[in-house]
């Protein structure tokens, strides 16, 4: 085999797992069943090298957390004016309601930091990082039900079948650690509403991209990564001998048939063996000092909690993982919102803020992007009975809030605003496609040029949409 070919084979072996994809993509262009070239290289110098995405599944209530609406207090139980609703569609959970009584948030807001950002009493720790985050109050999306909305948030399309954001990044950027996946996913269940909206593997799936770009779940039970442990009784030494034999016999096969894929396979088996060591190392929290658990909270000691996942996210990006995606379930507060949301905030507030502080202390926040986001917002009107201290809220795609922090993001800044009813956006709307375009931009990728040819079309994360949100970038 000549050296050029050998180089290609080598690169195929390590594709996405050890080499920045830049050089790789050129060489792999046109491979029959391998990679298509995503782009020739990063499109521009990146601000961010990695992302931690804290996905709050179920849609957190923006007017109880991030977008105070004091004017609503006087309108308690008034019917939502048609001038505000403007005939916009509702889910069939509330479209049959005869009234749409305004339910002011029962939670108070106060100003935090030098920026004076107003944040709910439910999120005191988030308040303490107000000067580090950029709060967008003017997000909007398309779908009105969870499944299509969270699929849209994560894949840029309401229906199944498209690659997730993390898969696009794995494809576009590759990984910097040969022993860990480029894209890791962790799930936790909310204590506010444990019986909640489900999640789906497609949210971190690779869609039409090759399957090695799919998110690798780090699990709360059993092996931290699927099939990581040897079968019982299969010792490290016995396995090592087997792998050496497999490699030797595969080399014989390669001598006979000359298929470059055989060499790739030898390398992948070695990588698998290394992962069997590197994954337990990174998930073992015993080397964390006590101060870590003061910062993230005691729950961080308990595998599978949101707090533990936040801590693990930091450990993973320290090891070079490109994209860590957390999902915290249980934000779908159709009834008993005051009770349920307390539980959700208790789960997430401290660890989310701790993560940002921790990254900052370690100097990682400069080139790490942190996003805290749900799939849509909630209605100002109460779903079901409204009382002085209890209400529920239905789905609302017209406006919602999220925050970002870190690389390239304007800290201590609020972007966009909504009307008094938190029903329509008043200024600076940001669509999911705009957000995704901006995320890619911060990573050095042009969302119009990160493409994959499928069914004759060059597909993008942002479909044919997306504008950079300049106002949130530093």
């Amino acid at each position: 085999m000549n050296s050029a070919l050998h180089r290609r084979v080598f690169l195929q072996q390590t594709a996405g797992l050890g080499i920045g994809a830049t050089a790789l993509q050129t060489l792999l262009h046109g491979e029959q069943h391998g990679e298509q070239a995503s782009s020739l290289s990063l499109h521009h110098p990146p601000k961010a090298k990695r992302i931690i995405y804290l996905c709050q599944s179920g849609a957190p209530s923006q007017m109880d957390l991030f977008d105070p609406k004091p004017a609503m207090a006087k309108r308690f139980n008034e019917n939502l004016p048609e001038s505000i609703r403007k005939g916009q569609r509702l889910t069939t959970m509330t479209s049959g309601q005869t009234r749409f009584p305004v339910a002011p948030s029962i939670f108070s807001f106060s100003r935090h930091g030098r920026s004076g950002m107003e944040i709910s009493e439910l999120l005191p720790h988030t308040g303490s990082i107000a000067d580090r985050i950029c709060l967008i109050r003017s997000m909007h999306t398309e779908a009105i039900n969870h499944d299509p909305a969270i699929t849209f948030l994560q894949t840029g399309f309401e229906q199944a079948g498209r690659p997730s954001l993390g898969a696009w990044l794995s494809y576009g950027l590759g990984s910097v650690n040969a022993d860990l996946p480029a894209f890791v996913v962790m799930l936790s269940r909310g204590s506010g509403r444990p019986n909640c909206q489900p999640l789906y593997d497609r949210l971190w799936g690779s869609g039409f991209l090759p399957s090695r770009h799919q998110g690798v779940k780090f699990l709360a039970t059993g092996d931290p990564v699927l099939f990581l442990q040897n079968p019982p009784g299969s010792s490290l030494e016995a396995r090592r001998e087997n792998l050496d034999s497999i490699a030797a016999l595969n080399h014989l096969e390669h001598e006979r048939l000359g298929d470059p894929e055989t060499l790739t396979r030898i390398a992948q088996y070695e990588m698998a063996f290394r992962m069997q060591t590197s994954v337990p190392e990174v998930t073992d929290l015993s080397d964390e000092p006590e101060s870590t658990f003061h910062l993230y909270g005691e729950k961080a000691r308990q595998r599978g909690t949101y707090a533990a996942n936040c801590l693990l996210a930091r450990r993973l990006i320290e090891k070079g993982v490109r994209f860590v995606q957390l999902y915290h379930m249980g934000w779908d507060q159709h009834n008993a919102l005051p009770k349920q949301i307390r539980g959700q905030c208790h789960d997430t507030d401290q660890p989310s803020a701790a993560l940002v502080k921790d990254l900052h202390q370690r100097g990682l926040l400069e080139d790490t992007l942190v996003i805290w986001a749900g799939e849509f917002g909630r209605t100002i009107y109460s779903q079901g009975e409204l009382t002085a201290d209890n209400y529920g809220r239905d789905h609302h795609p017209r406006c919602f809030s999220l925050w970002l922090a870190g690389a390239g993001i304007k800290p201590g800044h609020i972007h966009g605003s909504t009307d008094d009813f938190c029903y329509n956006i008043e200024a600076d709307p940001v669509h999911i496609h705009d957000l995704n375009a901006t995320l890619l931009h911060l990573l050095g990728l042009d969302h119009e040029r990160l493409t994959w040819r499928h069914q004759g079309r060059d597909f993008r994360l942002t479909d044919v949409h997306g504008h950079l949100v300049k106002g949130i970038m530093s």
Partner: protein, 1006 residues
């Protein structure tokens, strides 16, 4: 395009000429290969079929438009004069205001593409329509190759032209393994005769496993799954349709019939069960059931999914691109897309309907072979009933009755309040009386509810205490106590009314309570607090309440008990409850006496006593259990004797109106359209045919249809050669790949149609070629010259598809249960995967793994849950089955190695394979040879054999030194461990088997 400006760069044109002369001057530029794809990819976006995004009223996808003289007297193309052609001027311009594509467009023309365009114009600008839209005409075999096998004639002619020498034939063993995997998805069994490949192929085609193998790819296209997908992802019942597909391939149903049946079998004259069943194809799409989802939004989604799937599967047409606007590349307008949708828009279906096993329209079918099971179960019930009766007859009822009377009259046991009836607020909820006096809650499972239970008391008693029991049941989450996500419940209140008066209750004692949710939360006034138990309990939970004032309950009075579940802990509702009344001071765990027994004791007649004895006497418990088990078996057999399938069925009366949907949105109807086929294929529907699915299906298999046969044959080629002649099997449009051998593709398509769309005949033809039988050996020179093996001088090796890998491991170990068909099965899967993502109100919250044979069925039968597909398949690039998929990339990743090394499926197969080898051969050398032969269908080379021998010695030494480790090494999976084998030896051989199952050769189609 505006008038060419004076700024036109002469140097640009000159540059292009220069390149044209070197790259393309020697021979005519192939328009379809070098020009049309460039126009499509770089120009059609603004100058193509989509009228809404068309700029300067210019389209470059139609010859007439391109040739039309322009109003200003210029010409886009002047044949033979590139410099005078506006097209060339603009693409070569260096003026940023002039150059095309414009600088802000993402795509640019490469120098080669510029050269091709220029040379094409210079050579006379001959136009050809897109190859795939031309009718299929059978070309002559290449000159000099007329006497060869037709496949080899085209392939070898191209090789000769390229100056490449084809590889010699592979050895017989390799060919046999290649053919067996290709046609049955299983390795060859070792008694196969090696002498004649053609006979062997025929034998494989006659195997029932052929249909299973062919079905897998079709199920990917058909987006078949065993759950509905979307948010709830409940189970569905479509397996009988899947079995129909297997049967159809096995009886070699011609592809035209296969097409007509699946798209429109229900519309055939005298359509019978099979014809209707086959239309399940277009009901395999996902079904939503999310609370709050808008019906019409999803109904429309299903209709459009049918269009996209049908277009991809039969025409390689990316119709979905025309949902929101005219297609950007192919001449399919948005209007035509919705005209296709009109064929599929006339079902009585709802959008929000993915709860039950099927959504209408559906049919019920009897399952073949179940009659005997039902008859056997019936006779078993009869026997069990007789045995129980006989045992009851022989009892001394007088003594027993006296004893019960005494038991009742002294302090007494808990008196089970039954028969009880109950109602929920949701009328869809059901309450089934169970033999022990409990009620099983089923049907609708609302978030919060109040269950009202009523009972008429026949004999009076004094009520001091009330006991509530929650009992585990298999129908509840994970066999626990409730249908909530984790099996916990939370009782927020308990009301008791006797003689119409509410009774005050005091919480007394409970066997279980979660932290901060003690029993008295059920008796406080706050509906938001409740008595809650921890999740996951699978044992009886009891709670005792005391009446503040004991009540003398009169015979004939009614007791009303309300179990309140209003704490907003959603679905935290007891799934199976029993209520008992007790005297003062009765212990919580005292035994219980059914109300019916108390009643019988009071009546005292022989008949009542005998019945009560039969149903309650502890010594008859085994006989009662046997009877109940027999009844359950009968119920299961009866349930399994029928199955439902979703099918296509037209609504009666006027067809539903179909509209163009603006931007593809369900609530933005535009112009109304009638069902019709796209015009660009030049094949209109016959005037006299009704515009229905049957007409559409017949149109697809009309021999004049340019796409159907090409697309079908290309997929068969892909299956045997690793990639299609067209490498984009899902896209035969302008943006799709050009065939590597256009004439061969057309020859095969013509042959396919002329021979009656005979799939097996086509496979036989392809597989009897030298091309198929070539060795896969690749020299560096070959790899350099043709890295993708487009010219097929060698056979293409490729990693086995996901299901084949697992099936192969099962087959070589001997574990495989080769039985065909039936409901899906749940083999090994790592714990917690479903649970981790599960949500409210789904019936796929918990993965309850099957046992025995169901662990060892072919992967085709593994239950496919869309939101969490089997991980050992997904890691090997299996399609997710959410939408139609015509091909998947093949990747090679470390996580795949972890599957075949560590997944219980493979680890067990390795151990069982080791046992098989130990039993089947006598000494180490023979065993190594046997092992190699079983897995790879060939004997090991001396070097290979030596390698394994050395490994065996090392592994044996390891386990001899630590026999305990050996025992644990072989303790994997549920298949029994052969007692006669020495664990040390078995462990060492298990290591060898693991090596064999993980060889590149094993994982690869040779």
């Amino acid at each position: 395009m505006p008038r060419a400006s004076a700024a036109l760069s002469a140097t640009g044109v000159a540059l292009a000429f220069g390149m044209a002369s070197c790259a393309f001057a020697a021979q005519p530029v192939d328009f379809g290969k070098y020009v049309l794809p460039v126009l499509s990819d770089k120009c059609f976006h603004c100058h193509g079929p989509d009228a809404s995004s068309r700029k300067a009223k210019l389209r470059l996808d139609l010859e007439d438009e391109v040739r039309k003289p322009r109003s200003d007297g210029t010409a886009l193309i002047v044949p033979g004069d590139a410099a005078a052609s506006l097209l060339i001027q603009r693409v070569t311009s260096t003026d940023p205001d002039e150059v095309m594509p414009p600088p802000d467009f993402v795509k640019k023309l490469s120098p080669t593409e510029l050269a091709a365009l220029t040379a094409w114009v210079q050579q006379g600008a001959k136009w050809e329509a897109h190859w795939a839209h031309q009718p299929v005409r059978r070309p002559a075999l290449p000159p000099g190759f007329e006497h060869r096998h037709p496949v080899d004639a085209f392939i070898d002619a191209a090789l000769a032209k390229a100056g490449l020498t084809p590889n010699p034939r592979a050895d017989a063993a390799t060919l046999q393994r290649r053919a067996a995997l290709d046609l049955t998805g299983l390795p060859p069994s070792d008694e196969s005769d090696l002498s004649d490949l053609s006979d062997f192929i025929q034998k494989l085609l006659s195997s029932p496993h052929y249909g299973e193998r062919m079905a897998w790819d079709w199920l990917d296209l058909a987006r078949y799954a065993d759950s509905h997908g979307y948010q709830k992802d409940n189970l569905r019942s479509m397996w009988r349709w899947r079995d129909w597909v297997v049967e159809a391939f096995n009886r070699n149903l011609p592809f035209d019939q296969f097409t007509i049946l699946q798209l429109a079998g229900d519309l055939l004259p005298q359509a019978g069960v099979e014809q209707i069943l086959s239309t399940g194809f277009n009901r395999n799409h996902r079904l939503n059931a999310e609370a709050g989802a808008i019906d019409e939004e999803y109904r429309v989604e299903y209709v459009l999914d049918r269009v996209e799937t049908t277009a991809t599967a039969w025409m390689g047409l990316t119709a979905g691109c025309a949902r929101c606007h005219d297609h950007k590349y192919d001449p399919l307008s948005q209007r035509e897309f919705f005209a296709l949708a009109a064929f599929f828009n006339n079902l009585d279906e709802r959008g929000n309907d993915g709860v039950g096993l099927v959504a209408e329209p559906a049919i019920t079918l009897s399952v073949a072979g179940m009659e005997r099971a039902v008859a056997e179960a019936e006779s078993a019930v009869e026997k069990a009933v007789v045995a129980l009766e006989a045992a009851a007859l022989s009892a001394d009822l007088d003594a027993w009755g006296a004893m019960q009377k005494q038991r009742l009259e002294t302090c007494g046991p808990w008196r089970v309040l039954e028969p009880l009836q109950a109602l929920g607020q949701d009328k869809g909820s059901t309450f089934t009386p169970m033999a022990d006096g409990s009620l099983l809650f089923g049907g609708a499972n609302p978030l919060n509810d109040v269950h009202e239970a009523r009972l008429t008391v026949r004999d009076g008693f004094t009520l001091h205490q009330l006991r509530l029991e929650a009992l585990p049941d298999a129908s509840l989450t994970g066999g626990s106590l409730a249908r909530s996500f984790d099996g916990a419940f939370s009782l927020s209140g308990l009301d008791v009314e006797i003689h119409g008066a509410a009774q005050k209750l005091l919480a007394f004692q409970a066997t279980h309570a979660a932290d901060e949710s003690p029993l008295h939360h059920a008796t406080d006034a706050d509906p938001l607090t409740g008595w809650r138990v921890p999740g996951g309990l699978r044992e009886r939970v009891r709670a005792v309440f005391e009446l503040a004032q004991p009540v003398q309950v009169r015979a004939g009075s009614e007791i009303v008990i309300r179990l309140r579940y209003e704490s907003r802990e959603e679905q935290f509702i007891i799934g199976r409850f029993r209520l008992s009344a007790g005297a003062a001071g009765l212990k919580m765990d005292a035994d219980e006496m059914p109300q019916s027994l108390a009643e019988a004791v009071r009546l005292g007649d022989a008949e009542s006593l005998r019945a009560a004895y039969r149903e309650t006497a502890p010594n008859l418990a085994p006989l009662r259990a046997a009877r109940d088990a027999a009844r359950a078996t009968l119920a299961d057999a009866k349930a399994a004797a029928t199955t439902q399938v979703m099918v296509m069925r037209e609504r009666p009366g006027e067809p539903r109106a179909t509209h163009v949907l603006k931007r593809g949105l369900y609530d933005q109807p535009g112009e109304r359209v009638q069902a019709d086929v796209p015009a660009f294929l030049g094949l209109p529907l016959p005037d006299d045919a009704p515009r229905d699915r049957l007409a559409l299906a017949r149109w697809l298999v009309d021999p004049r249809h340019p796409l159907t046969a090409r697309v079908a044959v290309n997929r068969l080629w892909q299956m045997l050669f690793g990639a299609g002649l067209v490498r984009t099997p899902e896209d035969f449009g302008f943006q799709g790949g050009r065939p590597t051998h256009p004439e061969l593709l057309d020859w095969l398509a013509a042959e396919f149609m002329e021979k009656g769309w005979d799939i097996q005949a086509m496979l036989r033809l392809l597989m009897t070629s030298d091309t198929y039988a070539r060795s896969a050996a690749a020299t560096p020179a070959m790899l350099e010259r043709d890295p993708e093996n487009r010219l097929l001088a060698r056979a293409t090796r490729f990693r086995l598809p996901a299901p084949m890998l697992r099936d192969q491991a099962l087959a070589v170990s001997g574990l495989l249960v080769p039985r065909l068909g039936g409901p899906p099965v749940k083999p090994y899967q790592p714990p917690g995967l479903w649970e981790a993502v599960a949500g409210v109100n789904s019936n796929t919250v918990t993965y309850i793994q099957d046992h025995d044979e169901n662990l060892r069925r072919r992967s085709l039968y593994t239950l496919w849950k869309r939101s969490v597909p089997p991980p050992n398949m997904m890691l090997f690039d299996a399609a997710a089955r959410e939408v139609c998929s015509a091909s998947r990339p093949r990747t090679n990743s470390p996580l795949q190695a972890l599957v075949t090394l560590n997944d219980t499926t493979y680890a067990e197969a390795a151990r069982v394979l080791a046992g098989r080898v130990l039993s089947e051969a006598k000494d180490d050398a023979a065993r190594i040879s046997r092992l190699w032969r079983i897995v790879l269908a060939r004997p090991p080379a001396p070097q290979e054999s030596a390698h394994l021998t050395a490994l065996l010695q090392r592994q044996l030494a390891r386990y001899q030194a630590d026999p305990g480790l050996a025992k644990s090494r072989v303790n994997i999976g549920e298949s029994p461990l052969p007692a006669h084998l020495d664990p040390v030896e078995l462990a060492a051989w298990t290591e060898l088997a693991e090596v064999m199952l993980n060889l590149d050769a094993t994982l690869t189609r040779p």
